[in-house]
């Protein structure tokens, strides 16, 4: 026998489980991009330090081409998003903004679906703007993969959806 105490403030409870709007999702995406940028810089510093340790005499800071930097950033962002959505269904940006990505059944995404969704966002980030005109607050990626981004302020793993036939 366990008791569930709703940690969500009362004023936010009516919105829980509903698809989020553009502002919240964009803010979460901005946080995620910032994190990836920071992580990329850290990665660059790490690689640079590794090169220095290998050959300190002939050391010179690596100067990757913009294309390589963009490609590496996109890859890193894709992996970050895919891994985050596969786990708790939320990236750190989602966590801060109280969002969660779920599939059409309200469950966590399959790793492959998460990877495809992350790639689609990296390739076509402007698809997020479809939330504005969508009658269901869905982005183009959501429409393609039948996913949803919902307000979910609860901490911890995703709760299994309630079976309507049992209620």
């Amino acid at each position: 026998m366990s008791m569930h105490i709703d940690p969500v403030p009362r004023e936010a409870r009516p919105f829980q489980g509903h698809r989020a709007g553009l502002v919240t999702r964009a803010a979460a995406a901005a946080i995620d991009v910032g994190i990836v940028i920071i992580a990329s810089g850290a990665l660059y510093l790490g690689i640079t330090a590794f090169d220095f340790l290998l050959d300190p005499r002939n050391f010179s800071a690596p100067t990757p081409s913009p294309g390589l930097v963009y490609a590496a950033g996109c890859l890193l962002l894709t992996l970050y998003l895919a891994l985050s959505w596969t786990g708790n269904g939320r990236t750190y940006g989602n966590h801060v903004m109280g969002l969660r990505v779920v599939n059409r059944e309200g469950r966590g995404l399959h790793p492959l679906a998460a990877l495809v969704r992350a790639a689609l966002y990296v390739i076509l980030p402007i698809g997020l703007l479809w939330v504005l005109v969508s009658g269901q607050n869905r982005s183009l990626q959501d429409l393609v993969l039948r996913t949803s981004v919902i307000y979910d302020w609860e901490l911890g793993p995703l709760q299994p959806p309630t079976d309507p036939t049992q209620t």
């Binding site: 026998m1 366990s2 008791m3 569930h4 105490i5 709703d6 940690p7 969500v8 403030p9 009362r10 004023e11 936010a12 409870r13 009516p14 919105f15 829980q16 489980g17 509903h18 698809r19 989020a20 709007g21 553009l22 502002v23 919240t24 803010a27 801060v96 903004m97 109280g98 779920v102 059409r104 059944e105 309200g106 469950r107 504005l132 005109v133 969508s134 009658g135 269901q136 607050n137 949803s148 919902i150 307000y151 979910d152 302020w153 609860e154 995703l158 709760q159 299994p160 959806p161 309630t162």
Partner: protein, 322 residues
């Protein structure tokens, strides 16, 4: 029907010849009487003339002599009759007693009297009508009779079980109009007469409480559900936030709520620009079951689909629908 005890006994003892002789004698006597009456009627004028000669003084008539003789004879006859009555009064009672003693009157009556026929001629109803039952009852000492009765002995002989088995309780009860009886009972009056305070004072509350299985009652209560409802009702997260003073939590919460409000405002603006007639369907599958939901009416216009705001917060411009 022939009745032997009424048959003439002489018919069995006297020969027919004697009866014939008696019949002949009776016939001769009757003829003689008729002849005598005829002769007396014919000789009546002669007798009157002899008894009352017209030429003689009345005092000298022979009829006076006859009357004098008749008076004397009457006197003698009456005195003889008185003597006879005295003799009869002295002689007859002992004789009758002797006769009765020698007879078995009971057997005689039983043999010769048809009692049934005699009783059938009696009008019992008329006799009862003539009786003063009330006067008879007034003379009866009912209390004395009852005092002499051994009620316990009588009751001990009564088979109560047998009587009870023969009584159809169901039939009796079915005939009783319980509603009518109850409708006549003044419940209010009865309740007013009950001294509730006295009853309560006589009740040992401690004994009753000791008998109550509190543990069983507690086990039957949904304490978890009750506590959950109470906690959700008092907005425990808000209390914790206020008590701990978590500034970071405040910032995050405010940022989230502001972004939600911005989502609603922008969506509302866009819907107005593109003239969306139907409300956005933002409900998604898989929401946790403990979430509090606000029921939204089915909108026909954007302006009609605002959710009920939580207490203490400004209503959003466009809220999610469930």
């Amino acid at each position: 029907m022939e009745e032997p005890h009424r048959r003439n006994p002489s018919a069995r003892t006297v020969p027919a010849a004697v009866d014939a002789a008696l019949g002949a004698a009776a016939l001769a006597t009757s003829a003689a009487v008729s002849m005598t009456r005829l002769l007396a009627r014919a000789a009546a004028p002669v007798g009157r003339l002899v008894m009352h000669p017209p030429l003689l003084n009345e005092r000298l008539h022979p009829a006076r002599v006859v009357e004098a003789l008749a008076g004397r004879g009457h006197l003698a006859r009456t005195s003889a009759g008185a003597d006879l009555n005295r003799i009869i009064a002295a002689v007859v009672p002992p004789v009758v007693d002797e006769v009765l003693d020698s007879l078995d009157l009971t057997a005689l009556v039983r043999e010769r009297v048809n009692i049934d026929a005699l009783v059938s001629t009696i009008d019992i109803a008329a006799i009862i009508d003539r009786m003063d039952i009330d006067a008879i009852l007034r003379q009866v000492d009912i209390d004395g009779i009852v005092r002499q009765l051994d009620i316990d002995a009588i009751v001990s002989k009564v088979d109560i079980d047998a009587i009870t088995r023969q009584v159809d309780i169901d039939a009796i009860v079915s005939k009783v109009d319980i509603d009518a009886i109850v409708s006549e009972v003044d419940i209010d009056a009865i309740a007013k007469r009950i001294d509730v305070d006295a009853i309560v004072e006589r009740i040992d509350i401690d004994t009753i409480v000791n008998r109550v299985d509190v543990d069983a009652i507690v086990r039957r209560l949904d304490l978890v559900g009750l506590a959950e409802e109470v906690v959700n009702g008092i907005d425990l997260p808000e209390i914790i936030r206020q008590s701990t003073g978590a500034m970071a939590s405040d910032v995050v919460r405010d940022a989230r709520m502001e972004s939600i409000d911005a989502d609603v405002a922008i969506a509302r603006l866009v819907d107005r620009v593109i003239r969306r007639r139907r409300a956005r369907r933002t409900d998604a599958p898989g929401e946790p079951e403990s979430r509090v939901r606000v029921e939204f009416p089915e909108p026909t216009d954007i302006a009609q689909k605002q959710p009920s705001p939580p207490p203490g917060r400004k209503p959003p411009q466009q809220g999610p629908r469930s």
